[in-house]
């Protein structure tokens, strides 16, 4: 509240912590699901399951990046949010154009429709948050 001349706002305070909370939820959900799918029935839909695992990894790294908050953390979070946005858009399109490619649902299928489109909104919020907290060190 009383911080007057912060050169670069921390990404892990206030609304940022809420964002981190949602990222952690998705990290846990995607990791546990992808882990079990790969362990039990990997052969059925390897592409879909590997993609879920990749998404899970990106959610974890993004959450860590935002939580670390430093210069490196910001850069990591920026990379993750960008990859995530491109991923959800690409997989969303592909899952509509070519259903054969993803016989089983992934987090990003149908632009994340199975998860209330949160996977689509999340990277946008992440990028907006990074933008809002950005301020060059004086």
């Amino acid at each position: 509240m009383a911080e007057t001349k912060a050169p670069e706002r921390a990404t892990n305070r206030g609304p940022g912590r809420l964002l981190i909370a949602v990222y952690i939820v998705f990290a846990i959900a995607a990791t546990s699901r992808a882990g079990l799918q790969i362990a039990t029935k990997f052969g059925e839909a390897p592409v879909a399951y590997l993609l879920s695992a990749l998404a899970a990894l990106i959610y974890i790294v993004a959450a860590v990046g935002l939580a670390r908050a430093g210069h490196a953390g910001r850069r990591v979070a920026l990379a993750c949010c960008s990859v995530e946005l491109v991923g959800v858009l690409a997989v969303g399109l592909l899952s509509i154009v070519d259903r054969e490619l993803f016989p089983d649902e992934t987090v990003w299928s149908g632009f994340g429709s199975g998860y209330g489109y949160v996977p689509l909104v999340l990277p946008v919020l992440g990028l907006l948050w990074l933008w809002r907290t950005r301020r060059d060190p004086a």
Binding site: A29, R33, T40
Partner: protein, 131 residues
Amino acid sequence: MTSAAAAGSPVDGWLATLAIVLSLAVAVWALVAAVRQRPPDRIQFAGLAVVELALLALTVVALVALGGGDRPGEPGAFFGYLVTLVCLPPLAWVLARMEPTRWGSAIVCAICLVTPVVVVRLQQTWEVVGG
């Protein structure tokens, strides 16, 4: 209750309904706190603890049913949701403790809104087996 439609499902009954109702109640309480710029209060933390207890009870019921030979329709997704579910209230607790501002209340609210969704998804992944 709604258990008549799926009598065989261990995750669809008064316990699941209780968890959903409690979670939504905590979400509303936390939302009011967030709007009023209040940090998470005792009621929110107590609420999270009660929701977690309900979810753990639900997990025990599900595991007992599994031990008895019942199987969910989509085991992978079912266990994924189950693991996620029991992690939610502790996660909200820890993050809300770290954030003693209105955003702490917002975190509790968000997680308590996600919890009922995961409970419903859990029920859906159990029931697929019937067809």
